[in-house]
Symmetry: C2
Subunit: 312 residues, 2 copies
């Protein structure tokens, strides 16, 4: 039996990575590019193409299609729309560009959806039909599966959980609005919570470039303010997830992204807060789990799995 191979491309503001992936989710070969060096996306696609052709010829393996994951990637239009960290214009016809250069079918979605699709085909959600993947990093994204399929929504914008507004926040969000969940549940949000707690504790000023990882390490060493920071983050997220669960009744919610590495300290409080905030019918029904793809390139894997989803 002949294996199927697809190229997965993960376009980010800093780096763009690609990989050739087989049906088991194994990356056969890959490459990485500095996104900021490219003034237009055609040049980036060309360089990926030449790298792919070289490695493809060496290994005598050809791809059947290209899946692309990108922030603000729109499944329907095939365009990256208004991506704040890419300087290629408002509407980048990325599917058109890649399919022309590679002469292969191309398909696009946003990075959170790609992570959820990756979880479904190569991660811990293989047997699940209804689940949510949260991508917690610089921002907060979500990819939602219901009835075994990803929810894109009417316009391809579904999953903007990070920009739902919450009572707890008066903070200004990167989107320009006030009170988004992301202002608490993201690297920026966690740093701000930590800073505010330090300020009320009259600690010395917290450096602006302090990372969530550093705060997490402090928490692991018993630093009370760091522990409280993750508690606040988990409580705020837990209350939002309780509402999400009442709407979607998912089997599991997975934590993905850099901040998901802090899952041992996040998940117990999130679970407790959910159980305290749902109808009794829902208690202990939803599993809160770390993604099985944490620290793997889920966006590369997930974007190749777009082709399996399409075939379903």
């Amino acid at each position: 039996m002949k294996d199927n191979y697809y190229i997965g491309v993960d376009i980010g503001g800093t780096n763009t990575k690609y990989g050739l992936v087989n049906e088991k989710g194994e990356i056969i070969f890959s490459g990485s590019f500095n996104t900021k060096l490219y003034k237009n996306p055609k040049d980036l696609a060309s360089d990926i193409y030449y790298d792919y052709i070289k490695k493809s010829n060496e290994q005598h393996i050809k791809a059947s299609g290209i899946g692309i994951g990108a922030p603000n990637g729109n499944f329907y239009s095939g365009c990256i729309e208004f991506a704040p960290n890419l300087n290629w214009g408002e509407n980048i016809p990325i599917v058109h560009i890649f399919s022309e250069i590679f002469q292969l079918p191309a398909i696009l979605t946003n990075d959170a959806n790609a992570a959820a699709i990756g979880e479904k085909f190569f991660g811990a959600a293989k047997e699940m039909k209804d689940f949510v993947v949260l991508t917690i990093g610089t921002g907060l994204g979500s990819g939602i599966f219901a009835n075994g399929n990803i929810i894109h929504g009417k316009n391809g914008y579904a999953g903007e959980l990070g920009h739902t507004t919450i009572a707890e926040s008066n903070r200004k969000c990167s989107c320009g609005r006030i009170g988004c969940l992301e202002t608490y549940v993201s690297s920026r949000g966690i740093l701000q919570t930590y800073k505010e707690k330090c300020a009320s504790d009259v600690r010395e000023t917290v450096p602006d470039d302090m990372t969530t990882k550093e705060i997490y390490n402090l928490a692991l060493r018993g630093d009370e303010i760091a522990i409280e920071t993750f508690k606040t983050t988990s409580e705020v997220l837990g209350r939002s997830l309780a509402n999400l669960i009442l709407i979607l009744d998912p089997e599991a919610i997975f934590l993905f992204g850099g901040i998901a590495n802090a899952h041992p300290i996040l998940i117990p409080t999130i679970t407790e807060v959910i159980n305290n905030n749902v109808l009794s019918l829902f208690k202990d029904k939803v599993k809160i789990l770390p993604s099985a793809l944490i620290n793997k390139n889920a966006a590369i894997l997930g974007s190749t799995a777009l082709f399996y989803l399409k075939d379903n």
Copy 2:
């Protein structure tokens, strides 16, 4: 070509209605029963059966199956679970009971899902794949379509939008919890809002049995407190719907149920509040509409359409 007919049963705490429905959503014949007179659901199912057989023989039409809509009806288990207004026990195996008596396939869902399925097959959502139907009456339910299919969730509990908690409410809900959306957006909630506004206006006491319809009629006649009551209701609902839209990106949200008759006064404020509370990408994208089945028996129609959904 031979037409298909299905029986739709709408089980409510006060009345149970049934109808024989054709593929166009026309009710060929129907019957109504006083639910409270039945000490157990088997006797109710038997009486519906005898009524159906009589009318079916008269008109020489036979049904191919029975769809049932009921509060807390669970699609997966075929049971009515913990329904507060039915005194038949905690778990009523209603699918088993009806299919045994009628010797026909039976299928169950909750009343909000039935309304949404009715909207899809016989209402204003025929061409839509992603939409939400809100059933606003004694409580607040929701039926959610994504990718052209109803979302039941893992356990059959999806759509409990009425029990998501909101910052605006400190009111006690019928579910025992504090702050559910339903404490504002329901007949009970609207009456309480009206009472509170009257109390601060030092009006005479509002009767406990005042109906939403009466308050709506006052609003239509220019009563400022009644107008303010619907404004508050619309604002609270609009803020919740903004969050729902960010998650699901639906094409439309339909208002159904007794209170949906007040849509001319509700929809302008709901729409304005949504536009003020979503990401700019989502502005003016979602239509807020009255259901095309208001004041029709959508639960009867929708429960027969469960069979069309199954065939999809």
